[in-house]
Symmetry: C2
Subunit: 340 residues, 2 copies
């Protein structure tokens, strides 16, 4: 439940000041945008002070973007799909930011930089900004920091924000509190691959794209399409006005990608029209507020020296039934509010 003390990779001795960073972000300076994100991901109190000032300023200039969550099991071909989708988005005259998150491991930076390296074409485009987002060991994967990063990217004027998450249930539930549309990527084939789907993911998907439907896979793919459509019918509707579709795509042949993008923009038009987008954004801000409060509160608690000295010992005594959870929790709380 504690936050990993991982030092921010890009933290420098002499950081540019808030004005410079904000000006740079609004002016589309990628380096200053990256620095600001690094500041946000930093655990140092002085960095948080500064990043909150930056975020406040950016909030005032934020433009509304299309926020898309792209999720799927490892190996579903997320990176190559995002590259192909990115090309379509850019062809539409829009810019995009890709935030890659790997909440399933503390090694996120490593593995994500791997993903990033695989998005060669896209990272070469001036219309695209690709950035790994550390989960800071936040319980449930996505941290409010991801939401904060979205705010910065919107201030920087990116029209589309793609949040890429590995398919681990909880993180998808959290990504839903930050994005407008959730796209689930699945490999062709039945049974086995489906084991990769974790709790809740299929329920919150607004569309499913079956990837790598080329070559030998084509036959299996159309079969999977039927299976997924059946599965979606078994699940509660997310919006009464939205029918969730299953698309056959191939990043290799570039087929189906265009259709997925049209599906997303069609959804956004509906959400703007019926006012649900505004409602959703308000709810997302509320969620962010309390997410931040909870994060600060837990941090305050578990970084409290009196608490951290006791924690491991208390936990061991509790799970081995030597100490009741009630006494254990009270001891930790007493240490926190310094009654002892």
């Amino acid at each position: 439940m504690t936050h990993s003390g991982m030092p921010p990779a890009g933290a420098r001795r002499h950081e540019p000041d808030v004005e410079t960073i904000v000006g740079g972000i609004l002016g589309g300076d990628r380096h200053l945008l990256s620095r600001a994100i690094t500041l946000i991901e930093s655990q140092k109190p002085e960095h948080q002070e500064k990043s909150h000032q930056i975020l406040d300023r950016c909030m005032q200039h934020k433009r509304s973007s299309i926020r898309i969550g792209v999720t799927g099991s490892p190996g579903a071909g997320k990176s190559t799909f995002i590259e192909a989708l990115g090309e379509v988005i850019i062809r539409d005259g829009l810019s995009l930011a890709v935030l890659a998150i790997d909440p399933s491991s503390r090694q996120s930076r490593g593995s994500i930089l791997g993903d990033k390296a695989r998005m060669e074409k896209l990272s070469g485009r001036k219309e695209a900004f690709i950035r790994p987002s550390a989960s800071s060991g936040h319980l449930g994967g996505l941290s409010p920091k991801t939401h904060e990063t979205i705010v910065l990217c919107e201030a920087a004027g990116y029209d589309v924000i793609l949040v890429e998450t590995v398919g681990v249930g909880q993180s998808e539930v959290e990504v839903e509190t930050m994005v407008d549309f959730i796209l689930l990527l699945m490999l062709p084939g039945s049974g086995d691959e489906l084991q990769g789907i974790k709790r809740g993911i299929m329920e919150i998907a607004d569309a499913i794209a079956i990837t790598k439907t080329d070559g030998a896979q084509e036959g299996i793919a159309s079969l999977s399409k039927t299976e997924f459509e059946a599965a979606l019918r078994m699940l509660p509707a997310k919006y009464p006005f939205w029918h969730r579709e299953v698309f056959l795509t191939s990043s290799l042949k570039g087929s189906g990608i265009e259709e997925v993008w049209r599906n997303i923009t069609g959804f956004m038009d509906l959400m703007r029209g019926n006012g649900l987008l505004l409602e959703k954004r308000r709810e997302q801000l509320r969620h962010l507020l309390y997410g931040l409060v909870e994060q600060m509160l837990k941090k305050e608690f578990f970084q409290n020296p009196d608490v951290s000295i006791l924690q491991a010992g208390i936990e061991n005594q509790v799970v081995s039934s030597q100490l009741s959870p009630f006494t254990g929790a009270s001891i930790l709380m007493d240490a926190f509010i310094r009654r002892r």
Copy 2:
């Protein structure tokens, strides 16, 4: 996020002391058991002090029970099913405690007492203890208090604990952290009824019982059985060694109930055999410890006078974008740690 200040219905001027209550619980005194549960549900600090002492003592005497979560949409016939299942359990020479929870509403006491009234047969049996459990407005429905109530019932020697929850996703995810087996009750019929299933419930079910499969429903019921079996195949396996079955039951005819009970006991034998039950109980204790810490921490925070004065205003400014969530959260935190 705050806790409802609902006063404990059964709180009296002159409570019996800890010794008396613990002695009563261990001796199977239902009235003292009920009083202890009321103490647990109380928000008064002095009651919490006392209830933790009681829980500590009970923890030392707790016996291992079979903990079953029974969930399903409103109208799925949970109460009548539990009555029928209770009869089977009692016929097996076992005693049971039924904890009915309605996390979906603050009116829980009311609606649950309604359920309780409907369990007439069972509440007449000396082998059964039926108790509504208030969710205390805990975020996500089930509160640690439910887990604490389970501890008391185990100390009282009940062999089987049934935790009844209304089918709202989050509460099922939480009930999984307290029980050994989750039974999902579903009405016969497809599509429409399935809309009642919320996120995650089907994934965490260890078995599904289709209820009210009598009279005109019999035809539809067997169809639903096939549908649910297909849906379960689409979902990730919860345990590699456990095949989740779908049962056709009728509380009216008493059919299928026996089979469900055999299924549950068979599952428990496997879990004891492979040591997973012990592992699960350790994990449940860890979850309870941090659940209690989080509960105490949030309570400490949102009941802080400086915080509660500001909260509503801050939230409104944040959702209407007049104030950034970052500043909003910081203002509340500063108020809490009294930096202002």
